[in-house]
Symmetry: C2
Amino acid sequence: MSDKLRLTKTYLARNCVTMVFIFALSVSTLTISSLIIGTLTIGAAHAQNNNDEQVLLTTKQRHVIDSFTTFNGHTLKQVNIGWESYGNLNQDKSNVILITHYFTGNSHAAGKYHPDDKASGYWDSIIGPGKAIDTNTYFVISVDTLANISAHDPNVITTGPASINPDTGKPYGLSFPVVTIRDFVNVQKSVLEELGITKLHAVVGASMGSMQAIEWASAYPEWVDNVISVIGSVHSDAWTTTALEQWAIPIKLDPLWQQGQYAQDAPPIEGLTAALMFITQIALHPDYFNQVGQTLDHQALQHAPLHDILADHNITQWLYTRAKSRASLMDANHLLYLVRACQLFLTGQGASLEAGLAKINANVLLIPADNDLLLMPYHARNAYTQLRTNAATKAASKASAPKIAYASLQGPYGHLNGVLGISQHSTIIADFLQQ
Amino acid sequence: MSDKLRLTKTYLARNCVTMVFIFALSVSTLTISSLIIGTLTIGAAHAQNNNDEQVLLTTKQRHVIDSFTTFNGHTLKQVNIGWESYGNLNQDKSNVILITHYFTGNSHAAGKYHPDDKASGYWDSIIGPGKAIDTNTYFVISVDTLANISAHDPNVITTGPASINPDTGKPYGLSFPVVTIRDFVNVQKSVLEELGITKLHAVVGASMGSMQAIEWASAYPEWVDNVISVIGSVHSDAWTTTALEQWAIPIKLDPLWQQGQYAQDAPPIEGLTAALMFITQIALHPDYFNQVGQTLDHQALQHAPLHDILADHNITQWLYTRAKSRASLMDANHLLYLVRACQLFLTGQGASLEAGLAKINANVLLIPADNDLLLMPYHARNAYTQLRTNAATKAASKASAPKIAYASLQGPYGHLNGVLGISQHSTIIADFLQQ
């Protein structure tokens, strides 16, 4: 094991642009409010309303596992994995919240790498000082998955089919073993153990992250006190399995895919782009998508596609261009492996869903999105029913019974309400974590 | 114009298997109930409950248009189109109901070609003697679209990219002009005019058929008294346009597609199969799909896909096998042209949706499916609101105001409730047609 692990330097820096604006409004509204890691920061009187004035900074860390055995029994040498953290680990290491990321995400859950980064981590609206997942209280940590889709993103550290197999000196390609949600959990566990952590106050994840969160609670119930499953699922039913397969199919059809043996400089970029188009659409909802259409002045009857079967409508071009630009940092085989991990997901990865759910002792808060078209809210409703039943059984036998809660998200984004609209449940999340 | 047109011989024949069963039960329950085209038929006392005892027979007819000008201004020579009918045209030709078919359908809307056919036309539950669309009263006719997807089905007659271009002696391929819903309507009009028909009591269609039905009422308002739009849409919004594009993408990725210039014996069958998998899934709903999963004993954690990234779950295999078997009679380029026709659809195909809808004088009954994931019920709700507003405007100006009605379908099939579950609204449909 390498010595590369160290606690992230996490601190607040001033967002100068915002500060200038606030000063211009009224200097008298400003007050000293935050003291983070010994850095005095000028904030506004109402921290909740002025979080954007503070920039949470983080750094990608590297964790190396010399030998990792996968759920299906293969051994991987030199697994490299990235992770980030926000806030500080307390003395008894009891304030840890693990954030598990979604399919196209990575461990950049909050904050920025540099004050001038354009975007923050995807859940920056709920992770930070004074936010729902309060980094003044909690040490928040997130870990890149195996086979992370953004294999070529310099801010992601992952091991997957695009990685060099140390035994051959060549990329694994499809010789990389199938990996599962449990493997992602076990990699996270390795990171935590290196930090001396043996207990998680909570695991919180959206979508594929929700699978990891629930898997944590089932596989290692003694570790996990609380789970928040956002836009989630506790297993891949028949519908979900084939819906996920739709993302794999265009990659396998791309002639450049070459059964996964493509050259680094000639990847199946069109197949990967198509997969990303599909993912983007199903993760949204017509309510939002048609707003985009309006901004593009979408018309069904357009000149170019009316006269040329190969011409596209402008909304198709918009979706394609957006997907293509994202594809350049991603890897097609990695996408196939993530699809497979999700398809194989069964809470507890054992004999049955019932057995897997029965192992969970954690409190669970389920946060589906009412108009989710990817993991529809029936997933959360069914999980809620089963977990409540299990909790009632435990209460009847006088074992401590976990609390099972449910709060659905509204908004135009469909599945992505779990990312873009999550802050509407900031109070519910904060209260759940403080129980 | 050829002389190939003649009225279909449509008559009822006895379904011997059913009859044997009924006789075995009790001969005394049988009574003479139906007299159709001079043929005495033994039926049961309650025709509604015993329709399956009678087989409505039909024959595919051929209509030839020597020169057809498409909406976008191209001229096609020798357009061959199939059609079917059920029931009899009355003397003043005032009893015509046109059925417009859906994306993967054709003019086989009801009945059988032979008494021993396994399956009947797709809407056999509502078309036939004594049924909601009563062939004792109405002359029901349906027409294959241009570029019908089942180009190689002996029971379909269509002209599209797979047809031989009479000018070159070779298949059109992508030199076939883009065709639109209006073109489908104009082909149907040609068939009707050859039969001396100048008026439609109703146009009734599901999905892509609903587009044709509503287009009829907007393009030729003097023709159409009533429209029934089932699981329908009055235009392709941004969401629908890119959702449809998902079906085109795998075909274009298939290396055998060759920019549409594939050989007849080497078609892009994998791309076409993928498209059909996507269509099948989005046209269903998890409620039904997961029932199929149960019959297959679907488990997320299966041995083969856990150990081999190229192995599939059995539900994926089920969907693939089903799609592949359908693909053999279909044509990939035809699918692309149908996608495009739907993407371009705007009621009236003019300046705006509002202008197109304002031209409609017909009564309109909208029948969406509440859990439709392909053309979600917001399409019908929005159309209902706009058509009601237009009707109110007409009523205020003392013009005759059409009746606009709405009845939603329930059931596990999602979009396909409009086909598989349509008979739940038999009474509403029958009453609407009799108003």
